[in-house]
Amino acid sequence: MSQKIATREAYGKALAALGKVNENVVVLDADLSKSTKTAMFQKEFPNRFFNMGIAEQNLMGTAAGFSTCGKIPFASTFAMFATGRAFEIIRNSVCYSKLNVKVCATHAGITVGEDGASHQALEDLAVMRAIPNMVVLNPADAVSAEKAVFAMAEYDGPAYARFGRAAVPVIYDEDMTFEIGKGIEVKEGKDATIIATGILVAEALEARELLSNEGIEARVIDMHTIKPIDIEIIVKAANETGAIVTAEEHNVIGGLGSAVAEVLVENKPVPMKRIGTQDTFGESGKPKELMEKYELTAKDIVKAVKSVIKMK
């Protein structure tokens, strides 16, 4: 876990590689191609790249049109603007007709940092998850981000993927498999399960270390697909470990925590706690400071795990 790469970096790299093997791939951006890293694709395939200007609604509408003609459009901008400004276009023009559009949003979550609340998307998973037909992905590291891009291209239908701005630890080997809808048991454990998504998977792994020093064995699951959620792996974890903690860089309302809670309540209720922002906006600050203030660190996960074990 020594190397650190931002998932947006992996996204750009994957697009450029995908462009070589799939001629139908087109990429659209809204004046942020250097930040979203779609510029990497633009460099290789200038005629299949379209900068739509600062116009996110038109970005998504244009992508929808492209898809009806057999293209596979990847439309990118910051998560806030992709899922906020263009929400209804994604719902009505893309998802309703189950069009093959990939919405790839970068700069998600509180770790955008200094730009502050207006740029920290903490609701994107919730709003994308609430749209019928939408697949929602949130890869944990550079390797899984790259695989997610290829998996999306294979999948025929609307998909949303969330990428981060900050460099995060690489946790997977190149040969990992990324299957849409299938969570990954990254570490075994019998006392409790931490189900994490995105950059909180690395925190969960760190929390597991800290817990094992105290003789607590926590299972860690990377839930890279928020929708469709992997019911099987959740119920198995509930049966075998009897307590669950979810962890996400997102509001506790509507994202991974909610999705897991829904599965547990209907299948196997066990004690559960949700790590995430507590229904609040963020603020300006360094990513690390914000993670601490909003209680999204390994330490916070450790505390939650201990408390769910007590509730068993």
């Binding site: 200007g53 600062i54 502050g116 207006s118 300006s284 600050g285």
Partner: protein, 268 residues
């Protein structure tokens, strides 16, 4: 006099963005002369009483240029200049993008392009409804006008004959990915605003006389909103930042900040 204020504001921008280690100097510097003229010549505001009911209102619709707004408000006396050095720090009053709940003198929280302009329509309608002569000023970026929301607001402003509304376009010709003309052309921009029912003026956005004249003229137009297209230079005032797309959103390093402040006439 205005020139002196503008220089102080430019220094404030450099110091703030440098201290923050991130932020948007290019589009802040391009708007400095416009904000100076608004706050030190035109607008009725009271720094001691930021919520004074009869005040004119300014909305920074291109919210990423927060440093120019903060430096102007500090120069005007809304809060101590020391705050500028805490820009973007954890717990600071001055957030990366303007936050009306934290900063005295900030009328609208902005940062998502297009939104502030739309809000200025509501402010103007409200002042009209109450029979007040309060004026509303909104500053837009030239990239920002690519947003559809801008044109919804433009349509509403002329429909409601918002003579009390003056919009200013900071026309520096650049956005993040390059020149406007490369990314998504906005031209013919004058014709667009005119066809939306606006009174349109074109000026040099760094010439105080022209800015003053345009703001005065806008006030005479009673039944139509006015758009002042102000031709500006991104990064204006700091030689190595002028007309450089790369300075849209990056902070100067120590030596660069020093050099910039020197060009602007000393560090204090």
């Amino acid at each position: 006099m205005l020139k002196k204020n503008a220089t102080e504001i430019r220094k404030g921008i450099i110091k703030a963005v440098h201290a923050a280690g991130s932020g948007h100097p290019g589009g802040s510097l391009s708007a400095a002369d416009i904000l100076t003229t608004l706050y030190f010549y035109k607008m009725k505001v009271d720094p001691k009483n930021p919520k004074w009911e009869e005040r004119d209102r300014f909305v920074l619709s291109k919210g990423h240029a927060a440093p120019v707004l903060y430096a102007t408000l500090a120069e005007k006396g809304f809060f101590p200049k020391e705050e500028l050095l805490k820009l973007r720090h954890m717990g600071a009053m001055l957030q990366g993008h303007p936050d009306m709940k934290r900063v005295p003198g900030v009328e609208m929280s902005t940062g998502s392009l297009g939104q502030g302009f739309s809000c200025s329509i509501g402010m103007t309608l409200s002042s009209k409804l109450d029979g007040k002569d309060t004026r509303v000023y909104a500053l837009l970026g030239d990239g920002e006008v690519q947003e559809g929301l801008v044109w919804e607001a433009a349509m509403a402003a002329s429909h409601y004959k918002l003579g009390q509304l003056t919009a200013i376009l900071d026309y520096n010709g650049m956005q993040i990915d390059g020149l406007n003309d490369e990314v998504m052309t906005i031209n013919p921009i004058k014709d667009k605003w005119e066809s939306f029912g606006w009174h349109v003026l074109e000026i040099d956005g760094h010439n105080f006389e022209e800015i003053i004249k345009a703001l005065d003229e806008a006030e005479e137009i009673k039944d139509q909103p006015t758009m002042i297209i102000a031709k500006t230079i991104k990064g204006k005032g700091v030689s190595f930042m002028e007309n450089q797309v790369g300075w849209h959103g990056s902070a100067p390093k120590d030596e660069e900040a020093e050099k910039a402040l020197k060009e602007l006439g000393g560090a204090n």
